[in-house]
């Protein structure tokens, strides 16, 4: 198993390197001269040249690329022009909030989506199946910003059950902790009041973000179970008197979730991208709303760092997906 993980991890390295090359070239392809922009309108050509040398822009491209690699390796992305703080620091503060939101959405989508998919498949072409198919198409088709506003109007404004926006109520501050996540740090600090408050704030954004994934997971699980139900070992299980419910929920399900796991992996990256919209609407202090600010203020350093971050997350999730596949299917472990 360890060898399997190592091999998969090595396979990811070339794609990460490709990502570095693409981002590097994208920056060089921008027509504006960064040195001139930095020097200002009244600078003399000599001053611009001095800045250019200082930034290493006079050197050949390979040398510049090495310098870029060094910066990335040291997580030195420069200062954000919007917050005037190091980009890496901003991201470190905001990433836990986004991960919290994304994991919550993924959890909702998986915990509901997999059983719903099984139920739809078991009742193939009967009413539970039709209902779930209609709902899942609706779930994929519904725009997140519209749903977010509807949920806010109903649950926050009309019913008043849940907070409208933000991550914590006014007056509460997240305790310092090792993870940077409000939920986890408040649990570690034993502050159940803060934990509950943060959880209540998490519900609406997480539900909004989960909906597309929920629909996708339901559909993939349904298709997987339908296919597995045709397999000989299901017929054998019935012939030797294994109760149908047990056959479906234990033996069939495990064979059916391979495609679902792949989807969950892909969804994770998609959810972080989807968080851009959801975080903006719910005023969630994560990477998504930070990126929106960066785009609106043309903050290229932030955009670069976020692009690399999302690429890295995709790569890590890919390795994790492969690991889960190997846990599910012993044949993969033996092949390596």
């Amino acid at each position: 198993m360890a060898g399997f993980v190592l091999r998969r991890a090595l396979l990811v390295l070339p794609s990460l390197f490709g990502l570095l090359i693409v981002t590097f070239l994208l920056i060089r392809m921008v027509p504006a001269d960064p040195a001139a922009a930095l020097a200002g309108d009244n600078a003399t050509p000599a001053q611009v040249q001095a800045i250019r040398e200082q930034m290493g822009l006079d050197q050949p491209l390979p040398a510049q690329f090495l310098r870029y690699l060094g910066d990335v390796a040291r997580l030195d992305f420069g200062n954000s022009s919007y917050s005037s703080r190091p980009v890496a620091l901003d991201i470190r503060e905001r990433l836990p909030a986004t991960l919290e939101l994304t994991f919550a959405a993924l959890l909702i989508a998986t915990v509901l989506g997999v059983p719903l998919g099984v139920i739809a498949a078991v009742h193939h072409n009967r009413w539970p199946d039709f209902l779930l198919r209609v709902l899942s198409v609706a779930g994929i088709a519904m725009a997140a910003f519209w749903l977010a506003i509807m949920l806010q109007m109903l649950f926050a404004m009309r019913l008043g059950w849940l907070p409208l926006r933000g991550q914590l109520s006014v007056g509460l501050t997240a305790p310092d902790g090792p993870t940077g996540s409000v939920l986890l740090d408040s649990l570690i600090a034993g502050r159940l009041d803060i934990f509950t408050d943060a959880l209540r704030h998490l519900v609406l954004p997480a539900v909004t973000l989960s909906l597309g994934g929920l629909a996708t997971i339901t559909r993939f699980t349904r298709a997987g179970v339908l296919e597995t139900l045709q397999k000989d070992f299901v017929g054998y299980g019935r012939a030797v008197g294994v109760p149908r419910r047990r056959l479906v929920w234990i033996y069939v399900l495990r064979n059916s979730v391979v495609a679902t796991v792949t989807q969950i992996g892909l969804l994770f990256g998609g959810l972080i991208a989807g968080a851009v919209v959801v975080e903006s609407i719910y005023d969630w202090p994560g990477i998504g709303s930070y990126t929106v600010q960066a785009i609106l203020t043309a903050d290229s350093k932030v955009m670069l760092a976020v692009t690399l971050l999302i690429g890295l997350i995709y790569a890590v999730v890919n390795i994790l997906t492969d690991m889960v596949h190997a846990l599910i299917d012993p044949r993969l472990r033996d092949e390596g």
Partner: protein, 327 residues
């Protein structure tokens, strides 16, 4: 005379499909005496699998038993509810050996996880998983599986085809069944392995006091293993009787044609002209009539009567109704 372990009479099963209703089994009749092995022989598509499914009550969706009886030790299984079948019949009193041992095993679970599943539901005396595993190991040794202890923690793909079939044979014995239904259990195996499995099955039937319904298309296997034979053509029982006399002097033209197809028995290669009719458009009367060299107009006019030309032998053919045995 003792009650038959299994007696199927007048069984009719039809499947409702997009193209209409197909009568897969038209009239099936078979008798399996206690402690015996009955070979059910027929070509692909003659309804062998449907017969097994009808006996076990696991017919696919859209399939329906129209008429007939499936008497198992004196009880009509067709009158049992799904829950009763699951509790008292499938896996317990009637066990099953599948055709393809690789496909019948779930690739993602260890052998131990899968095979103890049947025991969990049908061997209440074995209370713990350790007891169930011990019982399986004992049986795996009996079926001569190498490394019987280690086998339970391995996965299906780590065994050869013959070993997998031994695993499933052991599983079939685990709950002390009265009847074992074997669905072409040697078809997916190579010839030498096939031979070993047949010898093993023969031994086990005697040793465990079983009766066995052995479904196959291979008359050679029948000759070697079975005490009695029931020949099926397109969902109809055409002939049945003790193995040796039936193979030596087959009565029904279909049985004779089938024996003629066997390369070891015939000179040159003989086939049967035509093809098995689709159950959607089955000919009336005797379904073999369109391909039969001895057919006469009456064959398609009505179903043949059941005849008993010799004690223990039965044939469904009009030719014998008039004592005009064809040359």
């Amino acid at each position: 005379m003792a009650v038959d372990t299994l007696a199927v009479t007048g069984l009719k099963v039809s499947i409702q499909g997009d193209e209409g209703t197909a009568r897969i089994l038209d009239h099936i009749r078979l008798h399996l005496a206690p402690g015996r092995i009955l070979g059910v022989v027929g070509e692909s598509g003659c309804g062998k699998s449907t017969l097994i499914r009808a006996i076990l009550g696991i017919l696919p969706e859209g399939a329906r038993v129209e008429a007939g009886e499936v008497m198992f030790e004196g009880e009509n299984l067709l009158a049992f509810s799904e829950a009763e079948l699951n509790r008292n019949v499938r896996g317990s009193r009637i066990s099953f050996i599948p055709q393809d041992p690789y496909l019948a095993l779930n690739p993602l679970f260890t052998i131990g996880q899968q095979l103890t599943e049947t025991l969990r539901w049908h061997a209440p005396a074995l209370r713990s998983n350790a007891q169930r595993r011990a019982r399986l190991v004992e049986l795996l040794r009996r079926v001569q599986l190498p490394d019987a202890e280690g086998a339970l923690d391995r996965y299906p793909h780590q065994f050869s085809g013959g070993q997998r079939q031994r695993l499933l044979i052991a599983a079939a014995l685990a709950c002390s069944p009265r009847l074992v239904i074997a669905d072409e259990p040697t078809t997916a195996l190579d010839v030498t392995t096939q031979q070993q499995i047949l010898v093993l099955l023969r031994e086990l039937v005697t040793e465990f006091g079983l009766s066995m319904l052995f479904v196959t298309h291979d008359l050679g296997v029948v000759a070697e293993l079975c005490d009695a034979v029931c020949v099926i053509y397109s969902g109809q029982t055409v002939e049945s009787g003790p193995t040796a006399p039936l193979l030596k002097a087959p009565l029904h033209p279909y049985t004779r044609a089938l024996l003629g197809c066997h390369p070891e028995r015939s000179e040159g290669f003989a086939g049967i002209p035509g093809a098995v009719p689709s159950p959607l458009r089955a000919p009336p009367g005797c379904r073999f009539a369109p391909r039969c060299a001895h057919a006469r107009p009456a064959c398609s006019a009505r179903a043949p009567h059941l005849l008993t030309p010799e004690p223990g032998r039965q044939v469904d053919c009009i030719l014998y109704e008039q004592d005009t045995v064809p040359a």
